[in-house]
């Protein structure tokens, strides 16, 4: 087998093992609850991919995961760990809703939609730039800073919302103007909307930027070896700030799915957990846009299936499955990488 083929085989093998482990662990939990695993997994599959509405909902749930997966992957390829998607998507969505609702009614859609998306990206990017700059200029680790910023962002949004922006007696903002809305794709009443295509566009841009552009090459070089990159004349500090800013911006655009495409306002708690899931998606998708889309579909399927299996077993089963997949993939990717390294040395 060629080296490339060998690598692909090991990666697919790793993911397959992880899925099997998760299914086995899930089966145990289903059995102790006195249900049949085959039945529960059958329902999970048929309700998510078995009819048009299910498919639409599954794709809708996968959309934010494509964004957060790309976000984590971009930082990761530059050697950085962005655990801050959670906060970035929060401020992005919030800013998106504020701008969307502040626009005059007569704003043409061609202006309103891109503007709202750009603001979401800017807000998320700004929150990403902070840990980027701290890492680049003080050496303080981005993992801790992004975790801290998740909490700070969530407190700040709640405060600002309660104080100034939430509609009285609610935890949501006013509705955005109708021209800023992303159209529903009209699949059997599902929430799937135009942001699904936006996610694919982002994945395409990600590929062009990271694999086909000079800036992307620089970012990857910094990720592989900051010292070597520095010696090659790359501005490592700037690259770190750029990577974290872009990563935050992609996470911020998640707001488009919820705010512009679905709810049409910002609501407290929206998108919660999507940021952490993005880490799993990036890991499972090997930081590659196509892989990320598939991984997002898998996790989207699970998220959507949770409500459907709730009739048989507590929907928390899905959280357990997702967690076990992440843990198992973390393990198999470490072991396959070691196997590959060994193969390369001989």
């Amino acid at each position: 087998m060629t080296k490339r083929g060998n690598e692909l085989f090991l990666q697919v093998y790793g993911v397959a093992v992880a899925l099997l482990v998760a299914m086995a662990a899930g089966s145990v939990l289903i059995l102790i609850f006195g249900q049949s695993p085959a039945n529960v997994y059958g329902v999970l599959l048929s309700k998510t991919w078995g009819n048009a509405h299910g498919i639409g909902q599954t794709l809708f749930k996968s959309t934010p995961l494509i964004f957060t997966g790309l976000s984590v992957a971009l930082a990761f390829r530059a050697g950085l760990f962005n655990i801050g998607c959670e906060g970035q998507l929060l401020v992005g969505s919030f800013a998106c809703a504020l701008v969307g609702s502040a626009l005059p009614m007569s704003t043409p859609a061609l202006l309103a939609v891109p503007l709202a998306i750009a603001v979401a990206g800017l807000a998320g990017g700004a929150l990403g730039a902070i840990p980027g700059a701290l890492r680049a200029y003080t050496g303080s680790h981005e993992v801790i800073n992004t975790i801290m910023l998740n909490f700070i962002a969530s407190a700040a949004v709640l405060w600002a919302g309660n104080r100034f922006f939430f509609v009285e007696e609610t935890t949501h903002t006013a509705e955005i103007v109708s021209t800023a809305e992303l159209p529903s794709l009209g699949i059997s009443g599902s929430a799937l909307n135009g942001s699904f295509f936006l996610a694919f566009a982002c994945a395409g841009l990600f590929w062009v930027l990271m694999d086909r552009s000079r800036r992307g090459f620089e970012l990857r070089a910094v990720g592989l070896s900051p010292l070597a990159a520095e010696n090659a004349g790359i501005d490592v500090r700037r690259s770190i700030v750029v990577a974290m800013t872009l990563s935050g911006a992609i996470a911020g655009i998640v707001g488009a799915n919820f705010v512009l495409g679905y709810k049409h306002y910002f609501e407290e708690g929206l998108g919660r957990g999507m940021g952490f899931m993005g880490i799993a998606v990036a890991l499972l998708g090997r930081n590659n846009p196509i892989g990320i889309i598939f991984a997002a579909l898998l996790f989207g399927t699970l998220s959507n299936g949770g409500l459907e299996v709730n009739a048989f077993v507590p929907k928390e089963l899905i959280e357990v499955l997702q967690a076990v997949i992440i843990l198992a993939v973390a393990i198999t990717s470490a072991t396959t990488q070691r196997a590959l390294a060994k193969g390369g040395a001989s």
């Binding site: 003080t138 801790i144 975790i147 959280e319 992440i326 393990i331 470490a334």
Partner: protein
């Protein structure tokens, strides 16, 4: 304002402070020992949660708070074992594994809660150690642990080895020390101590509540950094963070016009400032987060 000062220096405030700080201290001590050996501990949150759950189940089923606390320790150690399996045995990424374990703890405790007690929100009432924090035997265990960690790190052979493994694992390997074994011990102790922190939460609350750790594991992680990986400073950082939280309650009663959310964010903001400013004076163990390949 005088109301606030009066309230701050009351016995009630002090009790509130100690009650809030204890689980932070326990989780943060766990984080400290693990990180000192070179293993990042994002999974503190999950250990707290599983510890709280196991403690509640143990206390409810046996009717004894002591049994509950022991179950909490055991639960935390099981999580520590799982974490060790992933990152030590298989060399998986420590941050990803930590995030996964936190998700797992969140889902699994609720799933089992439903299985055992038919609710995904909270358990039936559990016995505790009484309502006075000063008569709570666990409080003296916490104080003892802080002293033991402080002394153990600096004055015992295990402490020296622990710190050496965290700074330069290759050198330790050369001297015939088993890096993995010391890290395993650190990770298991971390699990047990953080599990006891969870037990404190469940016993203090007289029940297990879904997601009752509520981000405390992350605050504890922040305290580890604020305290620059030294047990006594870590404990002080926990007291500082807890006092911000206790102060918030007092300020609310006294109607001081400072947003609650700002006070809640203070530990996180302080940690970021400390991390950005203190580099050079305080630094993480050198091998933190790097898997060890046996030579």
């Amino acid at each position: 304002m005088s109301d606030v000062f009066g309230a701050v220096f009351s016995v009630y405030f002090l009790a509130q402070l100690v009650r809030t700080a204890a689980p932070y201290v326990l989780a943060a001590l766990g984080g400290t020992i693990s990180e000192r050996s070179g293993v990042v501990n994002i999974a503190l949150e999950g250990k707290l949660l599983v510890g709280a759950f196991c403690c509640a189940v143990g206390a409810i089923e046996s009717g004894s708070a002591t049994v509950g606390a022991l179950c909490g320790i055991l639960g935390g150690m099981v999580v520590g074992w799982l974490y060790g399996l992933a990152v030590l045995r298989f060399g998986a990424d420590q941050i990803v594994s930590g995030v996964a374990i936190n998700l797992l703890a969140l889902g699994l405790t609720r799933y089992l809660l439903k299985l055992f007690y038919g609710s995904t929100a909270n358990s039936p009432p559990a016995p505790g150690f009484g309502d006075s924090v000063w008569r709570n035997v666990l409080l003296y265990v916490v104080i003892g642990l802080v002293l033991a960690f402080q002394f153990g790190f600096r004055r015992t052979r295990f402490g020296l080895r622990l710190r050496a493994v965290g700074e330069h694992p290759e050198a330790c390997e050369t001297l015939g020390l088993s890096v993995l074994r010391i890290r395993w011990m650190a990770v298991l102790i971390a699990g047990g101590v953080a599990g006891l922190g969870g037990a404190w939460l469940a016993l203090d609350n007289h029940a297990f509540v879904a997601n009752m750790s509520g981000g405390r594991g992350y605050i504890a992680l922040a305290a580890v950094i604020m305290g620059s990986w030294r047990p006594k400073y870590v404990a002080l950082a926990c007291l500082l963070f807890a006092s911000a939280e206790a102060l918030q309650v007092v300020m609310q009663v006294a109607k001081v016009p400072v947003p609650r959310e700002f006070v809640q964010s203070l530990p996180y903001i302080l940690t970021m400032v400390a991390m950005a400013g203190l580099i050079g004076r305080s630094r993480a163990p050198a091998s933190l987060g790097k898997p060890h390949e046996r030579g």
